[in-house]
Symmetry: C2
Subunit: 410 residues, 2 copies
């Protein structure tokens, strides 16, 4: 398997991109789906924005270094990665806050309908935001409907206002068919909000091509924007006239520095800005996004799928495929850029793997989640990672941790 891995690495058209990232020596990082690695350009920008722009140019940087343009500029850098024509994406706030804006605005656009449907195993914050809106507006104006992911298509009817889906399931990695589901929903007059947390930067997303209505996403996973980096929001051009989000702040005003007391939203996606943008974080994000300027997202997808398949083969070659039950879809075409495995000792195994220099993550109650980031991970690393896992399972090192964690809980 080692020679296969090395051969795949030699043929890898994205291999040179690794030079644009810092990665700790002796670590194999399979958790870029939680927090992307540090781009060299982002590290340099952090020093520049703090020392020079803040420290030396102070308040004049709003114009001198175009701080004021960062949210739209970052949005325009993300747009081609998610299949959006210009003028529809802006960076701001968090996914949770952006979901609140878009769900509230979309509910207003769907007069006479109050149901918001999502999947029961969606990422919790997506469900919580609907619950928060229901608590605020009342059950009559906002009703939460939870459906099994596999049954979502049969649940769509004319009483539903909004369908909120995460394109790639955060646990299983299942990739939903954005085009078909959006089309089905539109046939029933439903507006669709896509959460791209696990798809932006992981695979080609085609928001415009799928006739999407709205989307949100984060930039700290596959887009490598840094821990807690600002999120983004997409509002399709055709909705921008009617769309009005409720958290109206001065940065979303048509003339923020006129200091008028009457709110007049700036036309377009920019009205999603509320408060002062997070300049340091957004400047670092902008530098990180520039890594993508020459990256072909189809190549990223090809390598991502190949990595998933290769990882499964490595498990098989090491005789671990029976013990680790893969709960992700069988076909690489139906997965995002991750694999999830069920194991009763998943937590302890994950800890032992980290101790051995392989960072993956654990998702309660019993999933080991492995993420593939084609920009900076090699096939040889995957083989090494599985080998380390094999040693852990042979030596049952993890049982000590498992025992300790049981001791802690009880």
């Amino acid at each position: 398997m080692l020679s296969i891995a090395q051969n795949l690495d030699r043929q890898d058209a994205l291999a040179a991109l690794r030079q644009q990232f810092y990665l700790p020596q002796g670590t194999i990082y399979l958790d870029g789906n939680s927090l992307g690695a540090l781009p060299v350009a982002a590290k340099e920008r952090a020093v520049e924005v703090v020392n020079q722009q803040w420290g030396q140019d102070l308040i004049t940087s709003w114009n001198k270094h175009a701080w004021i343009d960062l949210p739209l500029h970052c949005g325009e850098l993300i747009a081609p990665l998610i299949g959006a024509a210009p003028g529809q994406v802006i960076c701001c706030d968090s996914i949770s806050v952006n979901l609140f804006k878009v769900l509230s605005a979309a509910l207003q656009m769907q007069k006479g309908r109050s149901k918001v449907i999502t999947t029961v195993d969606n990422f919790p914050t997506d469900i919580y935001v609907i619950e928060g809106l229901r608590q605020q507006l009342g059950e009559v104006s906002c009703e939460l409907v939870l459906s099994e992911e596999s049954e979502i298509e049969t649940q769509l009817d004319e009483r539903i206002a909004i369908l909120l889906l995460t394109q790639v399931n955060f646990r299983s990695g299942r990739l939903l068919d954005m085009r078909r589901i959006t089309e089905l929903a539109h046939e029933k007059g439903i507006l669709v909000v896509w959460d791209l947390a696990h798809s932006a930067g992981a695979l080609p997303v085609k928001l415009d091509g799928c006739n999407a209505d709205f989307a949100v996403g984060c930039t700290y996973k596959y887009l490598n924007g840094g821990p807690g980096a600002p999120a983004f929001i997409y509002v399709a051009q055709r909705h921008q006239g009617e769309f009005q989000q409720p958290i109206s702040g001065w940065m979303g005003h048509a003339a923020p520095f006129s200091f008028n007391s009457a709110y007049a939203p700036v036309p377009g996606v920019k009205q999603n800005l509320s408060g002062t943008p997070a300049v340091i974080a957004m400047s670092v994000l902008e530098a990180a996004l520039n890594v993508w300027s020459d990256v072909d997202m189809l190549r990223v997808r090809q390598k991502s799928m190949a990595m998933g398949e290769f990882f499964l083969e490595c498990l098989k070659a090491c005789g671990l495929d029976d013990e680790f039950v893969c709960v992700s879809p069988d076909s690489a075409l139906e997965r995002g850029s991750q694999l999830a495995f069920q194991h009763q000792h998943a937590y302890a195994i994950c800890q032992a793997w980290i101790d051995a220099g392989v960072i993956a993550d654990f998702r309660a109650p019993d999933l080991l989640r492995v993420g593939f980031t084609p920009l900076y991970i090699s096939f040889e690393e995957l083989w090494q990672a599985v080998n380390k896992l094999k040693l852990i399972m042979e030596n049952k090192e993890y049982l000590r941790d498992a025992y300790q964690s049981i001791q802690t809980v009880t």
Copy 2:
């Protein structure tokens, strides 16, 4: 005046703090009320959080470097500066977003009342957030009432749900009497939300002492947290049981990593967290807040008031006091840490002053705003700044700019 300034600087108990900040050579910075200067500790932390914590320790930093605790920890560092006992302040999002949370929650607590009153010359985002809420909830549930600042106390009656005030007016610098106004409002059953944008770090704020209900504030002005640094929110202990803010995200859940689909807010102020915290920005902020650990806020207030008085004396000594009409209150006790002057050429004069190395700011339509930041500005600098202003006025340098700006507009 120079010798008076130098004498005041020699007696300045806060003078040594300047060593904890970077300030550009040859610049006198009188705009710390817009963006605070860069603390040495913040610069070092920026490198540490990006290079080491993100770059080397990656996802493990959430525990290893306690990223998960940053919002509460920063809140606890701010609490003593605003007179709040522990457990009532947390850092998150922007002022606009936090105002939305607190206004929505407070409206729910005030069943039967729908009016939200604020001042017509409040900072616009405060008014816009009320307008956004009105647009979302409807006029029946949220009605905006605008009052002149001078008449606010006579406008309070039992039909009003919430009084939203900025403690220090962003234009005039007028300092409102938090204790008296809060008491008057409470007599009518009104909940009060204080915006501390221009008071946190500028003067001793006594939220608990004034029996305040709620407050929001930013950290990028007098608290020197960096451009677009996270804001904070205060919820008085007695309201924390009933308070429920609508933007319910996973970080405000009682058990965020259990990934339950039912939202159960964590008890206390922490439920104000929505999405993933802005780690880089908040880590830099934490370092900046540590500057305050040994600072006596009464000393800050004394120096701030002395600086305002001294600046006015310098203007008089230079014969500029007639030309620059001070629109701030006469008494230093009724001002925050800034002065505002009306001048028909304020914009052009501000530009010429910046060209001469003095950074103040302009507020439309005709105000020159001068901020005093006792932690890093000296009396001698104030004297130098006014001298430069005198030269500008004598040479009428600003008229060239004024002429050019007229050319641009027409």
